[in-house]
Amino acid sequence: MSQATAIPAHDPVRQGAHGHAHDDAAAHHHPIYDYDSGPPVDRAKFAIWLFLATEVMFFTGLIGTYLVLRIGTSSWPNPENRLAVPITAANTFLLITSSWTMVRALHAIHNGSQKGLIRWLGCTILGGATFVSVQVFEYLELIHHGSLPSVDIFWSTFYAMTGFHGLHVVVGVIWLIAIWISAVRGKFTPQNYLRVELAGLYWHFVDLVWVLLFTIVYLM
């Protein structure tokens, strides 16, 4: 069952494991037996997929709530009358583009181009940051015009849906900045860019969710 799997010896997660292994090594002199089994996926990537599964369930809960409430409400206001759809559409396009730049970034490091990685990561971060800023701006506008979450169920759901996604984007941006710093420090090589991949997976997920949210909250 436990088949041979190629694990880069410098895979961050395993280093974490070993790092502490060395710390508490005290009394014991025997080697530490660390086997590999299951599908030939790196542990960290496997875990990220699990994590994304939980995220899917989280947003299922939110979006489910939204749909139930919306269907259950006889006169749901038309989003176009309440929200600046064109601006957000542009914003959506920006976020999708940032997904594309993320792909470029991975490509770059895969082909050994440190510069490419740094540049494309930079673009992705910029895209994400701009997206959030536009959303914050949108919020300020709405609140300025008295459209608070406590006004009615439309606004309650609107802020909850977009807000939680916004938080995810913020987390993503911070994560990408961390990656970017390591990239500048030249931490990644064509053999070793797992951390870039992990952040990428999360980033694509966040974008995907937004496409969904945009459709049901703004367009439907």
């Binding site: 014991h28 299951g38 709530t65 409430l69 406590s150 802020y159």
Partner: protein, 606 residues
């Protein structure tokens, strides 16, 4: 390629030439330097230490939750009478008696603490952490640091839950199910102003802790099994913990989302769960500047979508422990390994489509109720398979009546009772009568206390030698068991009768109604038994602490058990195993004719 030295070389090669892989890497460790107490016992990343941290946290809260149960029982037996001793301290300004507000907080916190701070942490937190790496032959969890954070996420949870009790205005008072609008509109429960909010935050933190744990467990079990240990050679404890982790991964986020929405309803006055034109204390939420137009039923759906799977999270690992303990101490292979595994999967799978059985009376479409009845009754089948396989395991076995075994047997005996009463409630017409009566209370205490908690006791007796290198005192163990068994049934069996008589739960004083007046003597009997049950645990506590320091020292494998954890030293050092493991067979080869002894460990080659 499998023996230590060559893999070691592979590892070094890998280190030298990045990208080169190694099948099961081995790391020679040579440097010696002592590490401080804090790093070793408090901020530890060692799964064994974290497991034991979870265990004691859980036990302390068990004590707390138990005390609350005693207060509940006092009120139900002698309503509005002065509590001896504690009354003076606790309620000076209510004339030393439990106030109705306080009673609601009591069972709310009792339920919350017992489920989220006792059973789940003990099963998945304590034993999940301690057992998983050991039973699959791994040196630690896949992500030790994440594991540590998993435990430390419990701290804010604990603070929140304790604060919610202490805060001015008092603790949460909407039941552990926190149904809105009672839970969302502060005026509806004047007691729980910030209490409810902190309660929700506590749940969210516990959730975070469980998520980190679950990701870690699943990854570890899938990716770090010893050579030859196929999934179908895993001990059932691991299967139980594995499935429970999956349940948490897919169910918990929904509760998290729901709890956060309820927090928003309370703090930002959104209207997710607030219907239009309510009139609470002569005031509508709208006029108080809150949004409305939401649906209270929605919360129930979201809550039970998690909390039904949660009840199986609370039993599936227990089933696993019971299976291992039964087989080991009966010196006989577990009967029907595959059906046992598949039935766990079935229980978990069906567990996702039965949540509506908590809502039969809620006003949910009765046709929907009928479909939920079908799926719920269906779920009795896999449990049935398990019960009969346990019995078949015992048939023709050589039972050693150790404390661990006794508790495992009790688990089977009493899980049956709890499960069977589930059928009553699953059938919608009968549930019309018994919903929210004490039959429900009897039901879930039988599965959760008489079931899971006894399995946990059994697991503690069984794996204590591995945890501390010493054995718990058998005599004390048996005394503890006999008393607990008797009193548990005195307490919870009689609750069926009270429930059948129609007494509804969550009532501070039922005797005002002439339907219920005659039930007081029975309730007093239950309460006295409950006090005895509680007092009897002293034998466990003494045994536990005494054995940690002065228990009989034991070797690696005191029970002559087959699974991998017994290959490691007791207690295992850092990295758990001091030899390379290769697994040749399943975990239950007891009484095999292949060898002279009556057991053949998984890792022994013949």
């Amino acid at each position: 390629m499998r023996d230590a030295s060559s893999t070691a070389h592979a590892a070094h090669a890998a280190a030298l030439h990045p990208g080169l892989g190694a099948p099961g890497t081995v790391h020679e460790i040579h440097e010696h330097h002592e590490i401080g107490f804090l790093r070793k016992y408090v901020f530890s990343t060692d799964h064994k230490v974290i497991g034991i941290q979870f265990m004691f946290t859980g036990l302390v809260f068990f004590l707390l939750g138990g005390l609350m149960a005693m207060a509940i029982r006092w009120q139900l037996a002698w309503p509005w009478t002065e509590m001896p001793v504690v009354g003076r301290v606790l309620f000076p300004n209510t004339g030393r008696v439990i106030s109705p507000e306080f009673y609601t907080m009591l069972f709310t916190m009792h339920g919350t603490i017992m489920i989220f701070f006792v059973i789940i942490p003990l099963l998945t937190g304590a034993f999940g952490n301690f057992l998983i790496p050991l039973m699959i032959g791994a040196p630690d969890m896949a992500f030790p640091k994440l594991n540590m954070f998993g435990y430390w996420a419990m701290i804010p949870a604990i603070l929140c839950v304790l604060m919610s009790f202490a805060l001015e205005g008092g603790g949460p008072a909407a039941g552990w199910t926190a149904y809105p609008p009672l839970s969302t509109i502060e005026k509806a429960a004047p007691g729980s102003m910030h209490g409810q909010t902190f309660w929700l935050l506590a749940l969210t933190f516990v959730g975070a802790s469980s998520m980190m744990g679950a990701v870690n467990y699943v990854t570890t079990i899938v990716k770090m099994r010893a050579p030859g240990l196929t999934m179908m050679r895993l001990p059932l404890s691991i299967w139980g913990l594995f499935i429970a982790a999956l349940l948490q991964l897919f169910a918990l986020p929904v509760l998290t989302a729901a709890s956060i929405m309820q927090v928003l309803d309370r703090v930002l006055h959104t209207g997710f769960f607030t219907p239009t034109n309510l009139l609470v204390n002569q005031m509508t939420p709208e006029s108080a500047g809150a949004a409305a137009g939401g649906q209270p039923l929605l919360w129930q759906h979201l809550f039970w979508f998690y909390s039904h799977p949660a009840v199986y999270i609370m039993v599936v690992p227990a089933m696993g422990f019971a299976s291992d303990i039964l087989s080991t101490h009966a010196r006989k292979p577990l009967f029907g390994y595959k059906p046992m595994v598949y039935s766990i999967m079935a229980i978990a799978g069906l567990g996702f489509i039965v949540w509506g059985h908590h809502m039969f009376m809620s006003g949910m479409n009765p046709a929907l109720g009928m479909t939920f009845m079908v799926s719920t009754i269906l779920i009795a089948l896999p449990s049935c398979v398990k019960v009969f396989n346990w019995l078949a395991t015992l048939w023709g076995s050589r039972i050693h009546l150790t404390s661990a075994m006794l508790n495992a047997l009790a688990f089977v005996a009493m899980f049956i009772i709890g499960g069977l009463s589930g059928i009553w409630m699953a059938s919608t017409p009968v549930d019309i009568y018994i919903h929210d009566t004490y039959i429900v209370v009897a039901h879930f205490h039988y599965v959760v206390f008489a079931g899971s908690v006894f399995a946990i006791f059994g697991a503690i007796y069984h794996w204590f030698p591995k945890m501390f290198g010493r054995q718990m005192n058998e005599t004390l163990g048996k005394i503890h068991f006999v008393g607990s068994f008797i009193f548990t049934n005195c307490v919870f069996y009689m609750m069926h009768q009270i429930g059948i008589a129609g007494l509804m739960r969550r009532t501070a004083d039922p005797y005002a109604y002439d339907v219920y007046a005659h039930l007081q003597p029975l309730n007093q009997f239950i309460s006295i038994s409950a006090f005895c049950l509680f007092a009897w645990q002293i034998f466990f506590v003494v045994n536990l602490f005494h054995s940690i320091f002065w228990g009989k020292r034991v070797g690696r494998n005191p029970w002559n058990a087959c699974s991998l954890e017994w290959e490691a030293p007791s207690p295992p050092g850092h990295g758990n195993f001091d030899k390379k493991l290769t697994v040749h067979r399943g975990p239950y080869e007891y009484g095999t004719p292949e060898v002279a002894e009556d057991y053949l460990p998984q890792a022994r080659s013949i």
